[in-house]
């Protein structure tokens, strides 16, 4: 049929795109997993880096804990601020001027080279606020880095909430807070959580912002957020720079990948449970 063939190119386009995307994704993931999957053992996961140069034997336990700590701080801070900002802009901000100013500030800082963010964090958190080189400082910088990322997504999602539903709720004389709590969040929460999880992965993979503010080449697993820590991403960077055995490079990358996968998986599960209830 003529009609069918007319749209064949769309079918071809979308299938080819998807094929390409997933081919690339599987290639990268598969490549890393193939080369690094064999490394993943309890010893590798639970031991400290050893060997010569450092990291060419032993494990990456402190880096795993460090990465989780950095990411945890970053997500906690960024999601709190970003969700608040998005909610404020969508539901409370009355003035168009204010709105465009805030948007402007957010847009200008989104995609800031992370190295510059790192220097900024060094000045503000490490020096001025006296947090020192620590998980806290590094986490805060990562938080700033993912803030626009979360904010933009959450705001977009909130914008997709049906206007009619909001108006119906307001018309019942309930406050915005109540509407947000009972209707808006209920609808948007799964997507908000997945945005935060995605951002968490992004933060976990970032290197430049923490070089100046929190990451060190070697440390034990951090016991407080005031001490510096190793991080998987930075460890990876160091390993590559030092020319460590490739299986350790890929092994570290594999663990990083699995962690990110786990975070996203947990977010999805949470979203599903939340939607289902």
């Amino acid at each position: 049929m003529d009609k069918k063939s007319k749209y064949n190119r769309f079918l071809i386009w979308s299938v080819l795109s998807a094929a390409l995307t997933f081919a690339v994704a599987f290639f990268i993931l598969g490549y890393i997993l193939l080369k690094g999957g064999g490394m993943v053992s309890t010893e590798f996961l639970l031991d400290s880096p050893k060997g010569f140069p450092l990291g060419s034997s032993g494990g990456i336990y402190p880096a795993i804990i460090g990465s989780l700590a950095f990411t945890g701080v970053a997500c906690a801070v960024a999601s709190l601020l970003a969700i608040s900002t998005a909610v404020y802009l969508k539901f409370y901000c009355g003035s168009r001027r204010l709105y465009s100013i805030v948007r402007l500030v957010i847009e200008s800082t989104a995609g800031m080279p992370s190295i510059v963010l790192g220097l900024f964090g060094y000045t503000l958190f490490v020096l001025k606020m006296g947090f020192g080189v620590s998980v806290l400082s590094g986490g805060l910088v990562l938080g700033i880095m993912i803030f626009p990322f979360i904010e933009v997504r959450v705001e977009k999602r909130l914008g997709e909430i049906e206007q009619d539903m909001l108006l119906s709720s307001y018309a019942l004389g309930v406050s915005r807070y109540y509407t947000i709590k009972r209707l808006v969040l209920r609808k948007a929460l799964p997507d908000i959580i997945s945005a935060v999880a995605l951002a968490g992965g992004f933060a976990m993979g970032a290197t430049a912002p923490i070089i100046f503010t929190g990451a060190v080449i070697y440390a034990k697993a951090p016991e407080s957020i005031m001490s510096p820590a190793m991080a998987l991403s930075y460890h990876l960077y160091v390993l590559i720079g030092e020319g460590a055995p490739t299986e350790y490079v890929y092994g570290t990358a594999t663990v990083l990948m699995l962690l990110i996968l786990a975070i996203n998986g947990a977010a999805m599960l949470f979203g599903k449970v939340n939607r289902g209830e």
């Binding site: 009609k3 749209y7 079918l11 386009w13 979308s14 299938v15 080819l16 795109s17 998807a18 390409l20 995307t21 997933f22 690339v24 990268i28 993931l29 490549y31 970003a82 608040s84 909610v87 404020y88 802009l89 409370y92 100013i101 805030v102 500030v105 847009e107 800082t109 995609g111 800031m112 080279p113 190295i115 510059v116 900024f120 000045t123 503000l124 700033i144 803030f147 933009v152 997504r153 977009k156 997709e160 807070y177 999880a197 995605l198 992965g201 992004f202 976990m204 993979g205 970032a206 290197t207 430049a208 990876l236 960077y237 590559i240 490079v249 990358a253 990083l256 990948m257 996203n264 998986g265």
Partner: protein, 285 residues
Amino acid sequence: MKRDKVFEFIIKAFTLVSVAILGFIIFFIGAESLPAFRHSGVAGFFTNERWHPMGTDPVLSILPMVFATVYVSFLAVVIALPIGVGTAVFLSCVAGEAARRLLKPFIDLMAGLPSVVFGFMGLMVVVGYFERHFSMSSGESALAGGMVLAIMILPYIISTCDTTMVGIMKSYKTSSDSLGVSKWHMVRYLVLPAASRSVLAGAVLALARGMGETMAVMMVIGNSPIFPRLLGKCETIPALIALEMGGAPVGSLHYHALFAAGFILIIMRFAVSMLVSHIKKGADL
């Protein structure tokens, strides 16, 4: 009710804090770049000379890097946008619920991979391929940067578009079906136009990310401060900053000049989003 006021106060306070921090970043970078601007004037950054921030007679022109930043990130968006939107269409309109649920996590996973890994693989695969097959003396090039960056921003484009497209499918599939048109007609004339905002938002987000991406790009473009050509080397502003920041003595002109480069990047990003919001207004639905 009291709780409302408290809630409003809290989120207002958080918004203020966020804006204050972000504003402070801009201020910080602005302040740190001031000595450099004072040294050679804003125009001094855009002359057709070489970047040479040290020595007795420093020249701070970053015109080639400005072009390279735009060039590489646009290249990436141009490569990634059709593929990303196509994949989003596939996920939301072609793949069933089960397939979607299976495939989507890979997209998220890709978004989370550290840029070092992309850079490393870009170096091994893309750059290596160019050297072997295009008889280029060295494979580092704007195209390699664009391709690596395209892969990195792909997940962002896909996930922004996908959410919206799924929503449209859910709301209008029945109405569309009842008009007796095929799914592909719906994709072409309903899903894509109605999602155009999201596509645009995705592209902007991706472009923003692209212009700021440091590590991966730096590893594959060769970092030569010359005007970009598709198969030639070039150097983006983030790469410039990342490369030289470690070696620039604090407080030196070089140091301030790097901040000035960062400031110019902010202005560029700002210009792009202004441009886009302008387009968006024009295409308003």
